[in-house]
């Protein structure tokens, strides 16, 4: 197992370097001026050139990339052009908000998804299956920003039960798992959870149906194993694939949703990314993409290791 983990970590290194290179290049090859954030629209080209030199944007791209990567390895992603604040602190703060949202959404989405998937798979081709599948299809089909707005209109504007925007009463850095904070989380978390809920439902339904139709299940039943025992086998066989799907979904959620975070003014990584793109804040954009990509890579690594731990065939492969 340790050799497997070591091998997987080694595989991650070139991925991380490639990710860094791609995110560095992506923001440089897009049209427009990287100094838009600090230059007013009416700034002369002379002033733009002066600041380009001050920020080092006049250097050759390989030099810029080399310096950026070197600093990044030392934990320094530079300062935001727009705010002057250190990028790493900005990103980590936003990521912590997104993690909070993702955890809440994952709890709702995965729990609902697994439940609905198991029920649908177990009662395949019945009205229960159709109802659960309809939920799943609605989950992946409904535009989530639209759903967010509908929830806000109903629960905030009309009923006045929950706050419409923000991430807490005081905007303080410290998140607390109390109702004062949790009430801000309810609507964005439900909105974020619908897509993973739909995807997990469909995956678990397909897996459950597939496993239940296999010969070994018949054999278990023939041996007189009660249904609860059979179900345990179904869950154990479905778990690696379901886990991979959930890991991927968690990765997407940790990446933040620009639309949902913008609709709810949730100060997470999606909101930050939106702001960085809007202001064309290159260091912030690069830093945010890099950290999010690393999160994604790390999460996949964790999922792979978890899968291998559950299913020994994987690590042998």
């Amino acid at each position: 197992m340790l050799a497997y983990i070591a091998r997987r970590i080694v595989y991650v290194i070139p991925i991380v370097i490639s990710v860094a290179l791609v995110c560095f290049l992506l923001v440089h090859i897009t049209p427009g001026d990287p100094l838009v954030a600090v230059l007013p629209a009416d700034a002369s080209q002379e002033l733009a050139a002066q600041l380009r030199t001050a920020y080092g944007f006049d250097r050759p791209l390989p030099v810029q990339f080399g310096l950026w990567l070197l600093r990044a390895l030392h934990g320094d992603l530079g300062n935001s052009i727009a705010t002057g604040r250190p990028v790493l602190a900005e990103v980590m703060r936003a990521v912590s908000n997104t993690v909070t949202l993702a955890i809440a959404a994952a709890i709702i989405g995965f729990t609902m998804g697994i439940l609905l998937g198991l029920i649908a798979g177990y009662f395949r081709e019945t009205w229960i299956d159709k109802l659960a599948t309809s939920f799943a299809i609605a989950g992946v089909s409904v535009p989530h920003y639209w759903l967010g707005m509908v929830l806000v209109i109903i629960f905030s504007v009309q009923l006045n039960w929950l706050p419409a925007v923000g991430a807490g009463p005081g905007g303080s850095a410290a998140w607390a798992w109390d109702w004062a904070h949790l009430q801000y989380l309810v609507l964005p978390a439900i909105t974020t959870s619908v897509i993973p809920m739909g995807i997990v439902t469909r995956t678990v339904r397909a897996l459950t149906g597939d496993i239940l139709s296999q010969d070994f299940v018949e054999a278990l039943r023939a041996k007189g194993l009660h249904e609860r025992g059979v179900f345990r086998h179904v869950i154990k066989n479905a778990a690696p694939t379901a886990l991979a799907v959930m890991g991927l979904q968690l990765g997407y959620m940790l990446g933040g949703s620009i639309l949902i975070e913008t609709v709810f003014s949730w100060p997470g990584s999606g909101f930050l990314l939106n702001s960085a793109i809007f202001q064309r804040d290159l260091p912030l954009l690069q830093g945010t993409i890099l950290i999010l990509a690393l999160f994604f890579v790390f999460l996949n690594l964790m999922v792979d290791i978890a899968q291998a731990a559950i299913d020994p065939r994987i690590k042998r492969g």
């Binding site: 049209p31 427009g32 002033l47 002057g84 419409a164 913008t262 809007f278």
Partner: protein
């Protein structure tokens, strides 16, 4: 038993009376909090020179800071004009028109208690102009230098007098200085002394970062709490030097909310008391629920800026005038924009000191427009093809796509065939600086970039003076009109404010008579506000004075 009951009742009454009495003074002094949802995605920079355009100046500039000169924001009817701020009076040197003397307001202190004086002015000028000054900050240069392009240096004369020097004679300086906010040098120095860094530059940067979190200006509001990207809390500066502008509200909370529907929902659900630019389709509901809507003409123009290089179809004044006469601006206002615009008949409208008396009246007159086009050689069977570069969105651009499609339809009736080249907003900005001769113009002969018209340089000079052609500034279309150049020079070198205004009015009238742009609309800065909020005066300005606002 009866006595016992009576005693109990008496005790209860006494307790109630006591608790009411205890609660009474608290209620009388209850803190009033005004919560505002901004359109910005982040709190504009708080260290003295805000980013995010004039929204930045509105929320973190004019609240916490003052400049040597300021804007009169007390009237909703009159044009906002420049008034004394931290300088009480100023004068240009009769012998050398590049030297100005500013007398400073006595008795003003920064929020940290340090005195405002000539040293502080010199320090603040050098933070953006003197590259070897310890407090020089490149990140503040961009948003400052272009707003006072001729300012060269500052020198202390005595504690309460400072001399400013410009690169050339420039009567616009007092107007431009509204953009230079005075931060506390003492507070910055304290941060600098504590900062750790490899060199002076790193220490300086660390000091500015610390200052942004705990800023000190001289303004009517003091920073009380700051959570980046989430909220900025300002409390009233009870000892503000201008007693008429000591805030009536105890605390103001600024919240970034870039999405119009989110802002509107926050207002409707009672999370905020004030939203900038509410969602236009929610206006009827907001009105119906009793929210107050404010809008007023802003010094802002939504134009097409024409190419005037050789071969441009806009070189024929008949074509330029025809375009200006062919757009039904009232129809645009009442239809597409739900009343949220003022039809533009120039950069400045009637009543503005720089309006002048143009002889070309910009209005909707399709017959006259068609006649002009026919005189220029065009007609139903021979249309003039023009191409305009615009963006799909962007700060100040209002609703660029539907508005441009409206103009496209309108001009089609006057024998124009309008092609639109839609590009990303920041790219359009960049191309604006590069000018029409740059390949990035992509064959366009007009560009649609909105502009602020607060001061003469921004409003007129950078577009009309031939020397402002790229790469110097924003004369995108390379306008080269000797009359404009002569009038710019005259305005710049006229130092009596009334005479300078007259010269600017002459320049503006000349630009309208020349149909220099296709003038379409002025933005109106719509905002929706809770009925609890009173005393709001929305001036004809990008800015607003929050000090006047009360909460019921």
């Amino acid at each position: 038993m009866l006595i016992k009951k009576n005693k109990t009742r008496a005790a209860l009454i006494a307790l109630l009376a006591l608790s009411s009495a205890a609660a009474w003074p608290r209620a009388a002094t209850a803190e009033t909090v005004l919560r505002i949802a901004m359109t910005a995605a982040d709190i504009p920079r708080t260290l003295g020179q805000p980013d995010q355009g004039f929204e930045g100046n509105r929320f973190t500039g004019l609240t916490m800071y003052d400049a040597l000169t300021g804007w009169d924001l007390s009237s909703a009817d009159k044009a906002s004009v420049v008034i004394p701020g931290l300088a009480t009076e100023w004068k240009v040197d009769d012998a050398d028109k590049t030297k100005w003397t500013f007398k400073l307001r006595p008795g003003v202190t920064f929020h940290d208690g340090s005195p405002f004086n000539a040293d502080a002015v010199v320090w603040n000028v050098e933070k953006v102009l003197k590259q070897d000054a310890p407090q020089f900050d490149a990140s503040q240069v961009g948003v400052t230098a272009s707003r006072m392009p001729t300012l060269a240096s500052a020198k202390k004369v005595d504690d309460m007098t400072v001399e400013l020097t410009t690169k050339e004679p420039d009567s616009f300086l007092p107007i431009n200085l509204t953009n230079l906010f005075m931060a506390s040098p003492a507070k910055w120095q304290a941060f600098y002394d504590k900062a750790e860094g490899a060199d002076a530059k790193a220490k300086s940067q660390a000091a500015w970062t610390a200052f942004a979190k705990d800023a000190a200006g001289t303004g009517p509001w003091k920073m009380a709490g700051f959570t980046p990207r989430e909220r900025l809390e300002l409390v009233k500066n009870a000892s503000y030097w201008n007693k008429d502008r000591v805030p009536k509200v105890d605390k103001m909370v600024l919240l970034p909310m870039p999405e119009a529907n989110a802002r509107t929902a926050a207002l409707l659900s009672g999370q905020v008391d004030w939203v900038e630019a509410p969602a236009p389709d929610a206006l009827p509901e907001l009105k119906q629920r009793g929210f107050k809507l404010y809008a007023n003409e802003q010094p802002h123009v939504w134009p097409w800026q024409f190419s005037r290089v050789e071969g441009s179809p806009w070189n024929d004044i008949r074509v330029r005038k025809a375009a200006n006469l062919c757009v039904d601006r009232e129809g645009l206002k009442d239809g597409l924009l739900a009343g949220l615009m003022v039809p533009a008949t120039g950069t400045f409208e009637v009543g503005h000191p720089w309006r002048g008396r143009p002889t070309f009246e910009i209005k909707y007159d399709k017959a006259a427009a068609q006649k002009l086009m026919q005189e220029a050689g065009f007609g139903p069977n021979k249309k003039l093809t023009v191409k305009t570069q615009t963006s799909a969105s962007g700060s100040g651009q209002m609703q660029p796509l539907p508005m441009n499609e409206y103009i496209q339809q309108a001009l089609a009736e006057c024998y124009f065939d309008v092609q639109l080249d839609v590009i990303e907003w920041n790219t359009l900005f960049t191309n604006w600086r590069r000018g029409v001769k740059d390949p990035s113009a992509n064959g366009s002969n007009a560009t649609n970039v909105t502009y602020a018209a607060m001061d003469p340089f921004f409003a007129l000079v950078r577009f009309l003076q031939s020397g402002m052609a790229p790469p110097v500034s924003n004369n995108w279309g390379f306008i080269n009109n000797p009359k404009f150049d002569e009038l710019v020079k005259k305005a710049r070198q006229t130092f009596d404010p009334a005479a300078r205004d007259a010269a600017l009015a002459e320049l503006h009238a000349a630009s309208v008579d020349d149909a220099a742009f296709l003038y379409v609309a002025h933005d109106v800065g719509p905002r929706a506000i809770s009925p609890k909020v009173t005393g709001v005066v929305q001036p004809k300005s990008w800015f607003i004075d929050f000090s006047l606002v009360s909460m019921q």
